[in-house]
């Protein structure tokens, strides 16, 4: 479903982050990517999302080279097939939860029917009219998860989604995310530092200078 | 800046008496109109009291009183009071009551050795509205609240007060009037039309009050009155003018003047000496001689004045000594002239003889810048 072919990427100042990275992700897989700080996890996510272009190599989504698309096409692709969960939640403060979750549907001009369902699924069914400032961090991330999946994306990218949360809440959120990704049949990429978080994924990959490699399984 | 030298050729006679005029710059064009005035002629007979009064038909006329006063504590003071009537020669056909046909100009100066310099003030007004006039028939001149009046009995009343000084004097004649030169026809130059009508009243007995800084001081003394009127003008070669009028202690009266030539020497001179009994000796130009004996440089204008003067009239030698040196009058701001007019004491053949006033004009030279 997602193919990374010979990706090379250097920062503007010349430091190489990704070298000859090649990996293929199958549809429905949920992978966690771990790695040291500065190794290029966020860069990799940006490349996958089409928000950045590789110096060489290709990112293919269902066979389409995303790095070859122009901004509008890439945006269109993101809109339809991607879902995002951020460390800092990024929920629009002046939109209600319902409106926040409805955003991707609106962008895709789809029916808003699924909003209430998603609200219920993330456990906020009676709070759709609330504003984000009335919510706790965990609750905000539930909203973000609902928003990331409401339009049934093919690929969900989560960047340290529990970085701002306490361990109990983090566990809840990771379970919820996994459940939602699986129940929506999406492919998921979870970038995290946390082994506990990574453990909720099907496969754990380590990003190093040499590329992406399956980590030694550390099942507890 | 007006220089005595360049102006003098245009002056009417006598210099000083005209330099106090605000309109001292009479040009040739101004004289073109002089035909409308009467000429001064030798055979005119002065008649009184009519000739005490003003003479509208002549261009210029003045009453000029100078004298020595003494305060109650025997301090000497000199004073000078002048009223001019001047016909502008303009506006004869203007029906406005404001039309400036005649001007009245008055001048008051006080020499007080205690002050060390001359105090003076001058005023000008157009005749009209009974605020300023010189009446015919008898001496009656007014300039706002300044008045100079001859009463029926021959007394003169002077009332002139300014902000910080002034005087109220009563002048009583003690002698006959003195007709100058040829029965009051007084020549001023080699040409016969260079002349004026001129009489004097010497030995006027003065009583009254002098105000200094608004404080009245009772005074008494002796004064000399000149009344002169004329139309014609002075010789163009004239450079300046020295004049003296003195009441002598023996009751005689001396008047002498010379008109100096630009090249030195004199254009004209005249003197008359009347003794107490009324006998007058006249002196012709050759018999009159002015010789400076001491000069004083004015710190105000740098002009050099012969403030001490030796005068010879015929066989008689007179020496004039000033009451104070600084009796210079600088009226450039208004009148445009600078001259010296001061109280002097006289000796006759080296013996004290009397007191009088000396007038020195044409000595101011513009400062070299």
């Amino acid at each position: 479903m997602l193919e990374l072919c010979n990706i090379n990427k250097a920062y503007a100042e010349g430091r190489k982050v990704l070298t000859n990275l090649t990996y293929t992700l199958k549809a429905g897989e949920y992978v966690a990517i771990m790695g040291d700080s500065g190794v290029g996890k966020s860069t990799l996510l940006n490349l996958i999302a089409g928000l950045d272009t590789p110096d060489s190599g290709e990112v293919r989504i269902n066979g389409v080279a995303i790095s070859a698309l122009d901004d509008d096409a890439a945006t269109q692709l993101r809109r339809e097939q991607f879902g995002f969960v951020f460390q800092a939640f990024h929920v629009l403060p002046h939109l209600t939860l319902r409106q926040n979750i409805a955003l991707p549907l609106l962008l895709n001009e789809a029916s808003l029917d699924r909003v209430e369902q998603m609200l219920a699924e993330v456990g906020l069914h009676d709070r759709g009219h609330h504003f984000p400032r009335q919510l706790s961090g965990g609750e905000l991330q539930r909203v973000a998860i609902a928003r990331a999946l409401v339009h049934r994306p093919k690929l969900v990218l989560a960047d340290e989604p529990t970085g701002n949360l306490d361990p109990d809440t983090a566990r809840e959120i990771l379970q919820l995310m996994r459940k939602e990704i699986k129940s929506n049949g999406a492919t998921g990429i979870l970038v995290t530092h946390s082994h506990a978080a990574a453990a909720t994924a099907d496969i754990v990959l380590n990003l190093t200078k040499d590329g992406l490699h399956p980590a030694r399984s550390e099942l507890s | 800046m007006l220089s005595g030298k360049s102006m003098s050729q245009y002056y009417f006679f006598p210099f000083v008496r005209l330099t106090v005029l605000s309109f001292c710059l009479f040009t040739a064009t101004a004289f073109a109109e002089s035909s409308e005035f009467m000429p001064v002629v030798p055979d005119y007979k002065l008649t009184f009291p009519r000739d005490y009064g003003a003479h509208q038909d002549f261009r210029i006329e003045w009453w000029y009183v100078t004298g020595w006063l003494e305060t109650e504590d025997k301090k000497p003071l000199g004073f000078q009071v002048t009223f001019f009537r001047y016909a502008t020669g303009h506006n004869q056909d203007n029906p406005s009551r404001f039309a400036a046909k005649y001007l009245i100009i008055a001048h008051l100066a006080l020499s007080d050795p205690a002050v060390g310099k001359l105090m003076h003030i001058e005023r000008t007004a157009r005749e009209g509205f009974n605020l300023a006039y010189a009446k015919e028939g008898n001496t009656d001149v007014r300039l706002n609240d300044w008045t100079f009046v001859r009463e029926e009995d021959g007394h003169y009343q002077v009332d002139m007060q300014a902000n910080d000084f002034g005087l109220q004097l009563s002048l009583t004649p003690t002698q006959m009037i003195m007709l100058q030169d040829q029965n009051g026809f007084s020549r001023k130059g080699p040409k016969s039309e260079q002349a004026s009508y001129y009489y004097s009243e010497p030995h006027l007995s003065v009583t009254g009050t002098v105000f200094r800084h608004n404080k009245p001081v009772t005074v008494s003394g002796r004064a000399w009155l000149d009344h002169e009127w004329s139309t014609a003008y002075l010789d163009s070669d004239a450079d300046g003018w020295d004049w003296v009028g003195a009441n002598l202690d023996d009751g005689s009266a001396l008047m002498a003047f010379q008109i100096r030539h630009k090249n030195g020497g004199k254009v004209w001179a005249y003197a008359a000496l009347r003794d107490a009994s009324g006998n007058i000796s006249f002196f012709n130009p050759e018999q009159v001689e002015f010789t400076p004996t001491r000069t004083w440089r004015s710190p105000h204008t740098d002009a050099i004045y012969p403030v001490a003067m030796h005068i010879r009239t015929g066989e008689t030698e007179w020496q004039l000594m000033p009451l104070l040196d600084d009796q210079e009058l600088d009226s450039r701001q208004s009148a445009g002239a600078v001259y010296w007019e001061g109280a002097v004491t006289l000796t006759r053949d080296n013996k004290p003889a009397g007191r009088g006033y000396l007038e020195l004009t044409g000595y101011f030279k513009p400062l070299a810048l």
Binding site: D72, P93, L103 | -
Partner: protein, 848 residues
């Protein structure tokens, strides 16, 4: 940690990061201060020069005696000169004489000639003594000479020795330019000559304009004035120099105050911009401040940080403003003249005088406003609980506190109350306060209003709109405070513009209609009155009325009349008036008594609105006016509208006037053509009269056009001020949009992540901009309409004493609205274009 260097890091860091906003704030402060300061400078310069010029004419006198009419008999002069206590009486005859060849220049054709007795004037007004050619001192007393100020020489194109033809009635008097008035003020057109000569040559024998008195030392001025006033009776005015100054000040006061008010209004718009920019900048950094608090900044430290930042901005901006204001004033005076082209201070060439106190005042205003903009949100930021403030979205809460609705309601209520209050010192102070409060209240109410409108809109539309509009509307509805701040500038400037447009249009239409009423004839023929004489004597009147071309000829006798010493003269107009219905002759208001009620026994007068305001004349009352040898009683029969003479005018029957005064001369003739005669023929015929060359002939159409042209010119400066206000408003839009774009970087970044196109972000910005502007324009229209009501029905009647009807310039308003909408949208777009730049995407990773 060194607190100074920490302070500097924070400050410079902030400024480096937001250079554009920093510059915008500085510009806003500078422009606001500059506007106020430059108008103040121009006004003061013009007024001081005008007043100094007037004062140089009246000299250093202690008292002045004038007649109620412009001229009085000279017999008073010797009486005063000899009066006890008077040191010097200086008679003056002042005349405005038409310079030949300048007649057609209606507003600028007269030369002021002062007739003096130089010996007396020398002690009171020595500046009026001419400087003759050397050796021609007597020229000062001559009957054929005149001395001109340098400006007058330049204007008349003459020099010393030239002949100067002047028009007196229907004759020409030629005088010789004998010299200059070297001490006249720059630009002052002035002539002096001998008083006797002036009386004679200008046919004013026996007349004087005034007598100036110098009192003797120690005389009590007030007591002497009172005694003399009583002695002279009611035909004369005794005034002190200060009365004179009051009178001059009164003449232009309304104009000056109104201009100053406009400047203040502009400053107010600027103020709002400064406030909002500064407030936004503080609010945007709420989270940063919260962090600083968390890290251990005390409240005081934080407050000091924010305040110092405001002070530095305020000082720099205000200094820039003072410099800019000075430069603008200097240029305006250079190119437009001291009255900004309105001819309010004629013949004056002012130079700017830098008054440190005024500069300091404007400096303070600029600084305080900036401070206020920092302080209010700073206090809020300091008081906020850091943990809460760290959360994004809390800005809106902070701003909600700044716009409590009760505040707006109080402002609006007071505004309403103030419209009901009378003027203070004859100035519409409360009217202006009401305008300010209306604006403040309107702006303060804006967030509520915006929230309400956009919510309603969203509820109505949300099924039918896409993502972009959902985003736009929800944001506008749910975050109305941020929106409203952007809107404040637009609202203020647009409502002012609307108000001015309505006022000026109402005024212009009223004036146009009025001109039609007051200029009914085809031709008007004038001979400028010189002194006390109307130009046309009965013989000439007869000649003209017997000309064959005219259906009807009306005669007018106009002259100035002083009713109160410290007020400018009123105008007395004697003319035939249709007594059965004065509306046929005069532009009457509704305030008049039925003609049938006029009794035979008392002469009627019709007074202008200013007479009602200034002198308290009421219809039906009897008033005493000094017309003729003694004062007579008149009945106020009606009030008419007069846009020409703000100091008051009285009209009466010509027959009554002639019976009272015996003055049979007139100044102006109104001529109605017979059918079939063209204007050109009629004018040619008039010109062929023996005195034809001296006539000033005007077509009523030309006069109307000229009047309107002058009208437009005097409002030119208000247009300029309006434009500046709009630019400031747009600057405000730019500032707040760019600030918000930065603040919303993460929002836009997230939107871009989840698939919002670049153009959609721009569309969001444009839609927000235009929706806000539309709302601002609508609300601004309402506010502006309210303000225009205050201007038309309160400010104008109270300051100029004339009323007008309200007219709305719909077309013009629509155009302004459209221009405003487009420019605000574009501004929002331009300011927000960073929102689509690459770093926005990365902003999702910033935590602040």
């Amino acid at each position: 940690m060194n607190s100074i260097s920490l302070f500097r890091w924070l400050l410079f860091g902030e400024w480096r990061a937001h250079m554009v906003q920093l510059i915008v704030v500085l510009i806003a402060i500078a422009v606001g201060v500059a506007m106020g300061f430059s108008i103040h400078l121009i006004n003061t310069a013009a007024f001081n020069e005008f007043s100094a010029a007037s004062k140089s004419l009246s000299g250093q006198s202690d008292l002045q005696v004038r007649g109620r009419k412009a001229f009085f008999g000279e017999s008073l002069y010797p009486m005063l000169a000899g009066h006890e206590g008077v040191a010097l009486a200086n008679p003056v005859l002042e005349l405005d004489v038409v310079a030949l060849g300048k007649q057609q220049n209606r507003n600028d054709h007269k030369l002021k000639i002062i007739g003096i007795d130089m010996f007396r004037a020398a002690e009171i007004s020595p500046d009026l003594l001419g400087l003759p050619e050397e050796g021609k001192t007597l020229d000062r007393l001559a009957s054929d000479t005149i001395f001109l100020s340098p400006a007058a020489m330049e204007w008349l194109q003459v020099k010393q020795g030239d002949s100067l033809p002047l028009q007196v009635g229907l004759q020409t008097v030629t005088l010789r330019v004998a010299g200059g008035l070297v001490r006249a003020r720059a630009g002052q057109r002035l002539a002096a000559m001998d008083i006797g000569a002036a009386q004679w040559r200008f046919q004013q024998l026996g007349l004087l304009s005034r007598i100036e008195l110098k009192l003797k030392d120690g005389v009590n001025h007030a007591a002497f004035k009172a005694r003399l006033t009583e002695e002279l009776g009611e035909s004369y005015w005794v005034s002190e120099t200060t009365d004179q100054e009051t009178r001059i000040a009164n003449m232009s006061r309304a104009y000056r105050v109104n201009l100053n008010m406009l400047a203040l209004v502009a400053l107010f718009t600027g103020t709002f911009l400064v406030f909002s920019t500064q407030a936004l900048s503080v609010i945007r950094r709420r989270q940063q401040f919260a962090l600083l608090r968390v890290l251990g900044f005390t409240r005081q430290q934080l407050l000091r940080q924010i305040i110092t930042e405001g002070v530095i901005l305020g000082v720099i901006g205000s200094m820039l403003g003072l410099m800019l204001g000075y430069a603008v004033a200097a240029m305006a005076i250079q190119f437009l003249g001291g009255d900004l082209g309105s001819m309010f201070f004629p013949g004056v060439k002012p130079s700017i005088y830098f008054n440190p106190l005024a500069a300091l005042t404007f400096f303070w205003v600029g600084l305080s406003v900036t401070m206020l903009g920092s302080l209010v949100p700073a206090f809020e930021a300091v008081r906020a609980r850091p943990a809460l403030a760290l959360r994004s979205g809390s800005e809106e809460l902070a701003m909600a506190k700044l716009s409590a609705p009760w505040f707006a309601v109080i402002c609006l209520s007071f505004a309403l109350l103030f419209t009901q209050l009378p003027p203070i010192f004859e100035l519409p102070i409360f009217g202006y306060l009401a305008i300010a409060l209306l604006l403040i209240g309107g702006i303060a109410l804006m967030p509520r209003f915006a929230g309400w409108v956009f919510s309603a809109l969203f509820v109505k539309l949300h099924h039918r709109i896409g993502a972009v509009f959902t985003l736009v509307l929800t944001r506008l509805a749910n975050a109305p405070n941020q929106a409203a701040i952007a809107l404040g500038g637009i609202l203020a400037s647009f409502s002012l513009m609307v108000a001015m447009a309505i006022m000026v249009t109402s005024f212009r239409i009223s004036v146009d209609g009025w001109l039609e009423r007051v200029l009914p004839a085809d031709l008007y023929v004038r001979v400028t009155a010189t002194g006390d004489q109307g130009g046309f004597q009965p013989d000439e009147q007869k000649v003209i009325s017997e000309l064959p071309h005219f259906d009807r000829v009306d005669f007018f006798r106009t002259q100035p009349l002083t009713l109160e010493a410290d007020r400018p003269e009123i105008t007395l107009i004697a003319r035939p008036i249709d007594q059965t219905d004065p509306r046929n002759t005069l532009p009457m208001t509704d305030d008049m008594i039925a003609p049938a009620l006029l009794s035979e026994g008392i002469m009627p007068v019709w007074v202008s609105e200013a007479m009602v305001d200034l002198y308290g004349y009421r219809v039906g009352e009897k008033v005493t006016l000094p017309i003729g040898a003694t004062s007579s009683e008149f009945l106020v029969a009606g009030v008419w509208r007069d846009y020409g003479r703000q100091f008051g005018a009285v009209q009466m029957q010509l027959a009554d006037y002639q019976a009272l005064t015996g003055d049979s001369s007139v100044n102006t003739l109104a001529l109605w053509l017979q059918p079939g005669i063209t204007l050109e023929e009629a004018i040619a015929n008039l010109r062929q009269l023996p005195f034809g060359a001296a006539l000033e002939i005007s077509r009523s159409s030309d006069m109307r056009a000229l009047s309107l042209e002058i009208f437009d010119r005097s409002f030119a400066v208000t247009y300029i001020l309006e434009i500046v206000a709009v630019v400031i408003g747009l600057l405000g839009v730019a500032a707040s949009f760019s600030a918000q774009t930065l603040a919303r970087a993460k929002e836009f970044g997230m939107l871009r992540h989840i698939g919002v196109m670049r153009w959609q972000i721009l569309a969001i910005l444009a839609a927000e901009g235009s929706l806000l502007t539309t709302l601002g324009v609508m609300l601004g229209f309402g506010l502006g309409w309210g303000i225009s009501l205050i201007l038309v029905f309160i400010v104008n009647p109270q300051s100029f004493h004339w009323t007008m009807q309200l007219h709305l310039p719909w077309g013009w308003l629509m155009v302004i609205a459209a221009v405003m909408l487009v420019s605000a949208t574009l501004t929002a777009l331009l300011a927000g274009r960073q929102a689509v730049s690459g770093h926005v995407i990365r902003a999702v990773r910033e935590d602040w």
